[in-house]
C-alpha cells in the first residue's frame, strides 16, 4: 500500500533494555482503524508507546507520512501524531476546556495563548465528541467516561494524521464504549485520520476495526481483517484459552462446559436454547442438546456448553438417525426441556422428540420454568 500514513519496519519495542516485541511490520492508511489485540503483558502498550515515540526506537524504523520519526523533532511529531492515554489526570483546577485546549500546544506561540482560530478548533473538537456541556467543569470531578471522551477531544484538537489510543474503552460502560468507538470511526472516515489502538474487548475489536494485529510471545502472531482474524480457533490460540471457548461469530466467550453424563436433555434450535444452555451451565448441571443444525445460530453455543450435542447437517431435514440418537440420550436424562415454540419441515425431527417426551413425566416447557 502506497498511501500508508504510518509505517513501521522491523520494529522492536522495548521497555528499558528489555525487548518486549520484535520484528513488527505495521502499515496504517489514512482513514483506517488498526486494533492491537493479544494477551495481558504481550507488549501491546509498549508497541503503541514506541510508535508514538514515547519510548525510544531501538531497532527498526517508524515513518509518518514517509518521514523517519527519528529525524523529526518532538514538535514536528506533535503536529502529526496525538495520543489518548489511560493515565490518571491529577491536574488541579483545570476545566475540561483547559484540557482540550492543551491539544493546540504545538500550534500556539511562546506563551501558549490561543488564537481565535485555535479556540474554534477546540470548540469543534468538543462539539464532535459531545463534551461541550462539560467545558467549565473541573476535569477531576467528572465521570471516567466523560474524562476519557474529553481526552479524546484533546487529541482531536491536536489535528493529527495519526491518533494513538491505549485501551480507550477500559473504564467505560457499554454505551460509552460504543459512543467512543463510533466517534473514532467517524473521525477515520470523515477526516482520514489513521487510528491505532489497543482493545481488550474482542467483540468491539471485531466490529470497529478495519484491520487487527495480534501480538503474542513477543511477535506479531497474525494480522488481517476482522473476518480473517476472527475465524477458526485463531483467538483461542492467541490467548491460549484453556478455560471456556471463544465463539468467533459473536466475538464473545462461553464459560467451560459442565462435563459428565447428561441429566437434562434440551430440545433447541433457532437460538431459543441459548439462555437455557447458559443457565444449566451456571447451575453446574451437565446436559445434552439436540437436534441442532450445524448452521443454527445456537450451534456454537451448544457446542461450547453442552456435554453432548446431537447435530444435523446444514439445510437438511433432521434425519431419522439423528432422532434415534437423541432419543437414546433423552431416555437416560431425568428431565427434558423444550425450547422452540414452533416446528417446520427442517426441524420436524425435534417435534418427534417432543412427542416422545410428552409421553413421560420428564417434560418441562421452557415457558413453565421460573427464571
Amino acid at each position: 500500500m502506497s498511501d500508508a500514513v504510518l509505517t513501521a519496519r522491523a520494529l522492536s519495542a522495548s521497555y528499558g533494555k528489555k525487548v518486549v516485541v520484535s520484528g513488527l511490520d505495521i502499515e496504517v492508511c489514512s482513514g483506517e482503524i488498526l486494533t492491537l489485540i493479544g494477551p495481558n503483558g504481550a507488549g501491546k502498550s509498549t508497541v503503541l508507546k514506541t510508535i508514538a515515540s514515547q519510548l525510544p526506537v531501538i531497532e527498526g524504523k517508524v515513518f509518518i507520512g514517509g518521514k523517519d520519526i527519528s529525524d523529526m523533532s518532538s514538535h514536528e511529531i506533535a503536529k502529526v501524531l496525538s495520543v489518548c492515554l489511560t493515565d490518571r489526570i491529577t491536574a488541579e483546577k483545570m476545566t475540561c476546556e483547559d484540557v482540550v485546549s492543551t491539544g493546540r500546544y504545538p500550534y500556539t506561540g511562546r506563551l501558549g495563548i490561543l488564537s481565535a482560530e485555535d479556540r474554534g478548533i477546540v470548540h469543534e473538537a468538543m462539539e464532535l465528541t459531545g463534551v461541550s456541556a462539560l467545558a467549565d467543569r473541573d476535569i477531576r470531578f467528572i465521570s471516567d467516561g466523560q474524562r476519557q471522551t474529553v481526552m479524546l477531544a484533546r487529541a482531536i484538537a491536536q489535528q493529527p494524521q495519526v491518533l494513538i489510543l491505549d485501551e480507550p474503552t477500559s473504564f467505560l460502560d457499554i454505551n460509552n464504549k460504543l459512543r467512543l468507538l463510533s466517534i473514532l470511526k467517524e473521525l477515520a472516515r470523515n477526516r482520514g485520520i489513521a487510528v491505532i489502538q489497543t482493545l481488550h474487548e474482542l467483540d468491539l475489536a471485531q466490529r470497529f476495526s478495519d484491520r487487527i494485529l495480534c501480538i503474542r510471545d513477543g511477535r506479531a502472531d497474525m494480522t488481517g481483517t476482522p473476518e480473517e482474524v476472527f475465524s477458526g480457533d485463531n483467538i483461542s490460540r492467541l490467548y491460549g484459552m484453556d478455560c471456556g471457548t471463544f465463539v468467533p461469530l459473536f466475538g464473545t466467550a462461553e464459560a467451560p462446559a459442565v462435563q459428565g453424563t447428561p441429566k437434562v436433555f434440551v430440545i433447541g434450535g433457532g437460538g431459543s436454547g441459548i439462555p437455557v444452555y447458559r443457565r444449566l451451565q451456571r447451575q453446574g448441571i451437565p446436559f445434552a442438546a439436540g437436534v441442532i443444525h450445524e448452521n443454527d445460530i445456537e450451534f456454537p453455543v451448544a457446542q461450547s456448553l453442552a456435554a453432548v450435542t446431537v447435530t444435523e447437517k446444514a439445510f437438511e431435514p433432521i434425519s431419522d438417525e439423528s432422532v434415534q440418537k437423541a432419543l437414546a440420550i433423552m431416555e437416560k436424562c431425568d428431565e427434558v426441556i423444550c425450547c422452540p415454540d414452533s416446528f417446520g419441515t427442517m426441524n420436524g425431527g425435534n417435534r418427534r422428540l417432543l412427542g416422545e417426551a410428552e409421553k413421560t413425566e420428564k417434560l418441562k416447557r421452557e415457558q413453565d420454568k421460573e427464571i
Binding site: A52, Q54, S73, S74, H75, E76, I77, A78, L81, S82, V83, L85, D87, R88, I89, T90, A91, E92, K93, M94, T95, D98, V99, T102, G103, Y105, P106, T108, R110, L111, G112, I113, D136, R140, F141, Q158
Partner: protein
C-alpha cells in the same frame, strides 16, 4: 474564555496589587520613629533634606520593603514551580528542606569568611545559598525516584531539613560568640538589615528568574496533564525539568541568602492564588503568585516588626501562623479530591 472569567481575574489582580501597594506604603510609614506619610513621600522624592527621617526611610525602611516584596514574590513562584515539578500542591522550598540546605551552606560560608575577617558579599551569599539549595534538591530528586508516594516525599524533605538544621546548629556551637549573634538573628529569618546594595542584587536575580519562569508557563501547562501527554505535545522533558529545578532553587536560594529561611509562603500563597483565581494555569498563577507573595510577605513583615515593637519577631514565626493553616487546608483539599474519584 468567557467574559465572566476575564472579569474575575482582573478583579483578583487588582485586589492583590492593591494589598501589595497598601502594605508597601505601611512598611515605609510605620516604625519606632514617627514619620508621616508626607515626610515619607518627600524623603523618597528627595525634596526633603531632613537628615534622620530621610535616612531612616531611604536606607532602612525602603530597602526592607522592596526586599520583602521581591523575596516574598520570588518565594511564592519558587513554591509553585516545585509544586508543578512534583505534581504535589504541598511541595515547597521550606518543607522539602531546600531552604535549610541553603541556610547550612550560607552559615558555613559566613563563618569561614568571618574567621578570616572578610564580610561575605551579596553575590557570595547567593552563590553559597544556591549551592546549598541544589544539594538538598539533589537529595530530594534521588529520593523522589524511589518513593512514589507524595506524603513520603514531603516527610523525606522535612527530614533533610532537620539534618541540615542539625549540622548548622553544630557549626554554630563551635563558632565564635560574635558570629553566633549574627548568625542566630539571620537563621531565624528576617528582612531586617538589608541595604540598597543587597536590593539591587535581589532585584536582578528575582526579576530575571520570575520572568524566565513566566516564559515556561506553556510547557508547565502541558506538564500538568502528566509527562506522557507533555511528551506527546512536544515538550523536551529533560530540559524543562532542569529549568524548573534551577529556577526554583535560585529563587529560594536568593531568599535564604538575604532573609534566612522563610516558612510556608511557597505553599500557602500559590494555594490561595489558585483558589482565588479559580485556575491553576501557570500563565495566570505565576504573576499572581508573585504579586500575592509580595503582599503576603509585606503584611507578615509589618506584623513581625510592629506586634511587639520595638522588639522584632522572626518573619517565619508570622508566616507560619498564617501559612501553616493554609498548608493543612491544601492537604485536606487534596485528600477530598482523592476520595471523590
Amino acid at each position: 474564555m468567557t467574559g465572566k472569567r476575564i472579569m474575575r481575574r482582573t478583579v483578583c489582580f487588582v485586589l492583590l496589587a492593591a494589598i501589595a501597594v497598601v502594605f508597601f506604603v505601611m512598611e515605609l510609614v510605620s516604625g519606632s520613629a514617627d514619620i508621616s506619610v508626607k515626610d515619607v513621600f518627600s524623603a523618597l522624592t528627595g525634596s526633603s533634606t531632613d537628615g534622620t527621617a530621610g535616612t531612616i526611610v531611604r536606607s532602612i525602611r525602603l530597602p526592607r520593603a522592596i526586599a520583602a516584596a521581591l523575596l516574598g514574590g520570588g518565594l511564592s513562584v519558587s513554591g509553585f514551580l516545585l509544586q508543578s515539578f512534583f505534581n504535589n500542591p504541598i511541595a515547597g522550598p521550606y518543607v522539602l528542606g531546600i531552604s535549610s540546605g541553603a541556610k547550612l551552606t550560607v552559615a558555613l560560608a559566613m563563618m569561614l569568611t568571618m574567621q578570616n575577617g572578610i564580610l561575605l558579599s551579596s553575590a557570595g551569599m547567593v552563590g553559597a545559598a544556591f549551592a546549598g539549595s541544589l544539594l538538598s534538591m539533589g537529595a530530594i530528586l534521588l529520593l523522589s525516584g524511589k518513593v512514589k508516594n507524595m506524603a513520603q516525599l514531603i516527610i523525606a524533605g522535612v527530614m533533610i531539613g532537620y539534618i541540615c538544621s542539625a549540622v548548622t546548629e553544630l557549626a554554630v556551637t563551635f563558632a565564635d560568640d560574635a558570629n553566633i549573634v549574627n548568625l542566630h538573628n539571620w537563621s531565624m529569618g528576617s528582612f531586617s538589615g538589608i541595604d540598597m546594595e543587597n536590593v539591587r542584587v535581589i532585584a536582578v536575580i528575582v526579576i530575571a528568574a520570575v520572568a524566565a519562569a513566566f516564559m515556561l508557563s506553556k510547557p508547565m501547562s502541558a506538564y500538568q496533564l502528566g509527562e506522557n501527554y507533555a511528551k506527546n505535545m512536544g515538550v523536551n522533558l529533560r530540559l524543562f525539568r532542569l529549568a524548573l529545578i534551577l529556577l526554583s532553587s535560585i529563587l529560594s536560594a536568593c531568599v535564604t541568602a538575604f532573609a534566612g529561611p522563610v516558612s510556608f509562603v511557597g505553599i500557602a500563597v500559590p494555594h490561595l492564588v489558585k483558589n482565588l483565581f479559580g485556575t491553576a494555569k501557570p500563565i495566570v498563577v505565576i504573576p499572581a503568585a508573585f504579586i500575592g507573595g509580595a503582599g503576603f510577605c509585606l503584611v507578615c513583615d509589618l506584623i513581625a516588626r510592629m506586634l511587639f515593637a520595638p522588639a522584632e519577631i522572626s518573619i517565619s514565626t508570622v508566616t507560619a501562623v498564617f501559612g501553616a493553616p493554609v498548608v493543612i487546608a491544601a492537604m485536606l483539599s487534596r485528600r477530598e479530591q482523592k476520595g471523590s474519584v
